[in-house]
């Protein structure tokens, strides 16, 4: 079982076990602080009764410059759960909270990027109601974790879930063709 709370700076000292997971990216402090300050409501931690951090989610709400107000959405920047706490429904719980927050902010949809090879994550998101909106070519630079050495940059799926404000679900109609990273806002 888990307790939910907002992120604190001292949590950086406890994230080693989670962030050593190969599919969890470790960014510079400035990146995390940007989310901490601008979107603190989306920066949530889940911990055990003894205070051990089980996982966390980072997100934001934004619009795409080229699409205007109708693209107001929540975005999942990072979602990770420590290996020993997986398959307990924590990722579901954290995603649900992010969606709830996005609903409060009257977003049209929630979107995220996921490695095309990460079938476990893709299936999880599909179960949560997300669908593939578009494929982004060479979104992740360098070889995929656990992949062949010298492999090219990896493609990503941009997955979306429409929220209540988008009752016609226009935001999740998939694109027919893949796009390049520069086409993504």
């Amino acid at each position: 079982m888990s307790s939910l709370r907002t992120f604190r700076c001292s949590d950086f000292l406890k994230l080693a076990k989670i962030n050593l997971d190969p599919l969890t990216e470790t960014y510079g402090l400035a990146f995390y602080l940007q989310y901490y300050v601008k979107w603190p409501e989306y920066f949530l931690m889940s911990e055990t009764p003894s205070g051990e951090i089980q996982g966390y989610i980072m997100g934001k709400s934004e619009t795409f410059r080229r699409e205007g107000e109708s693209s107001w959405h929540g975005h999942v920047t990072c979602l990770t759960v420590a290996p020993e706490h997986r398959r307990l429904g924590l990722a579901n719980k954290l995603m649900h909270l992010l969606e709830e927050m996005s609903e409060l902010k009257k977003c049209y949809f929630v979107d995220l990027f996921v490695r095309k090879s990460n079938t476990v994550a893709i299936n999880m998101y599909k179960k949560l109601g997300y669908s593939v909106y578009r494929e982004v070519l060479e979104y992740y630079s360098g070889e995929p974790p656990g992949g062949k050495k010298g492999a090219l940059d990896e493609n990503a799926y941009d997955m979306r879930k429409a929220l209540s404000r988008d009752h016609l679900k226009k935001s999740v109609i998939p694109l027919k063709h893949p796009v390049m990273p520069e086409d993504v806002d």
Partner: protein, 709 residues
Amino acid sequence: MSRLIYFLMILEQQKDYTSAYEIFNKNIAVYDKELPVLRDRRRVEYLVGMQSFDKAIQICKEVVLSTGDAADWFFFDNLITCTITSVSGNSESSAADTSSVISELVSFLTEEKASHARCIGHHYALLHLRKLLEERGFDCNDSGLASMTSLVLAFYQSFGHKSPFFNYVRPCLTIAICETLVNDTTSKMSKLETGSGDDLPVSLDDMYSLMAVCEVERLTYLPLGNDLQSTEPQFSSKFIILAAHYCVDAYMLSECRDQKYLWTALDKLREAAEASFMDSQLLMVMTRIYQHMGLVLTCTELLDRMQIKQFLLQTTSWVLFNRLSSCGARQQCRMLNSSLIKYIQSSTQSIPDFVIQAYRSGVYRKIVDMIQWKESLLKSFAFIKCVVEEVMLDIIQLDSVSKFYFHEFLGDYNEVMQDWNQWVDDRDFDVSYNWEAPDTNWAGEEAKKLSYNLELCWLKMRYTLASCLCYLICSVTNPTKHFKCDLSKVSTDFQAAIQESSKVFSALEEHKLARDLCGHPFSPFSNQLSLFFKLRLDEFYAELVKSLEALTENCTMNGGKTSSKVVKLADIPDPIQKFVQQISDDSFLLENSQIKSEHLQKLQLITEALAIYVLSIGLLCRKLAKKNAGKKRTDEPTLEFPGLDAFKSLLESLCDNVTKLTERIDKTDSEIGTCGVDVEIVKKNLSCILTQIKQLCVTKFDYLKSFNL
């Protein structure tokens, strides 16, 4: 809204929860950027602060009832704690009333558990309640609550297959419960992991049988992971990690600490890592074993594989890489040191911008948090250790102009020494912690605290020595510059640091835990101080610093007359001379090209001492040269160093013996050695370290030559 939030923060600081609760309910709840679950959490926190337990209990029950399987543990915990606190704090309630209240809580939790059979929180709440009631001396028989053993068994039957099961129930376990659990369950894993204490294996035969069991279980579970991605931990990996720990225990039990057990552990771990390429737990256990064996180059390769960077360096640097510098892997050390220093410096510099941003956004709570975080970064033990080691590396490799930052390093001296205990221990032992050995708890708080005291002493000695040397370097290169600290004070502090280290070290030798963990691969105690005293480097450095202090401040030359100054720096201790000779013995190189890691650490300490000795000679020569610059003399006074020939002979022996050792290692057959030793890895590591040592010796020779010495 910003003013309201700010006012709320002030009320919380003043612990005026009543006013805070009123304001929160009337105003902030509508506007504050918080999820409903977090708003309820804040309400409960205020109510508990107000000691209004009934209302807090009501909110907790509402949340538990409404959110069902998503109920936050915080509300269960407060529901239980507030109930118990309210009855224990109410002196007017009778035993019957108390029992009634608790029974009501038990009924509530039991009903909820029945309707949410798959929710861990509801089950665990009953365990937690039972534990708290027993701790506070309540009679649990009338409450309708089952026994702890029954609750743990029921919890196991529902959730025993989940990874964190044992960590959840650990606070509730007793020996009696463990025995029941082991007898009643069919899982071998639970039998292996129970760790109750009395039933532990204590012989090598026991270790072997357990390793065999682990191997069987691993092969059983291996096919289950066929559909897992290569980046996911395999189900079978846990048995491998357990087997590795048993191998380490066997290593500790064996006579003469036979390294074949460590190679066995590494074999198993490498095999498992092939199936689970990026399992960080496997890699971490491997790193700690490699480190213990002095195979530090392989550690840095694993570091690259694990992509340890940014804030991860702060907490893992000591645990995973503390042997890098002590075994002489200087280049690898530099990479780590510079990465961590860069992270801390760039982070502390960027925080003020985010504080301003937080102020503009109205998220005032974050401002306090970020400022405290910035202060803690500057007090990080990992940070100061890296800075000191980096300065020492620069000093011993110095052969020309001093680095500009030596002066800055000295600038903070008084402030740092005024409160030496300000450093915060940020070593994270949990990162490689997946099996708690019940007998010798190398990851426990006691071991961590004791080892930290030792580390602080060692660091203080290094810091004051580095400061002495920096002072001397700066006084030669910038003689007119004013220093904030005084050399005699720094020198005195250094002597005091040696005394303190000696006392702490002697006390620790008497401590049972430290003795038990001595030589354990996962031990939090490093043996640098032990080797430092064994080689009598305390006497050497004490004498050297005293001589340098006296010579730097009192050195005068008789103008116009021929004079020579005889400079006696320090005697090279006998243990050092003996060790240098020992390198040439056949027995120094063990079977399969192995060298004891203790020998590598001694080599590093000796090389460092000799390099500092050479530096001291160079500084004095340069000081004399500066004094005489521009003066016309036909007969210039000279510096003589008695013992210089003997010193040069020692340096030459060290260089020659290290060269011969490298040649002997290169000649060793590269086929897989006996007892599973990977000779290729051993040779690669040793060649790298010995090459760096030899290079340093050669540059020191050249440095002496530049002074015609």
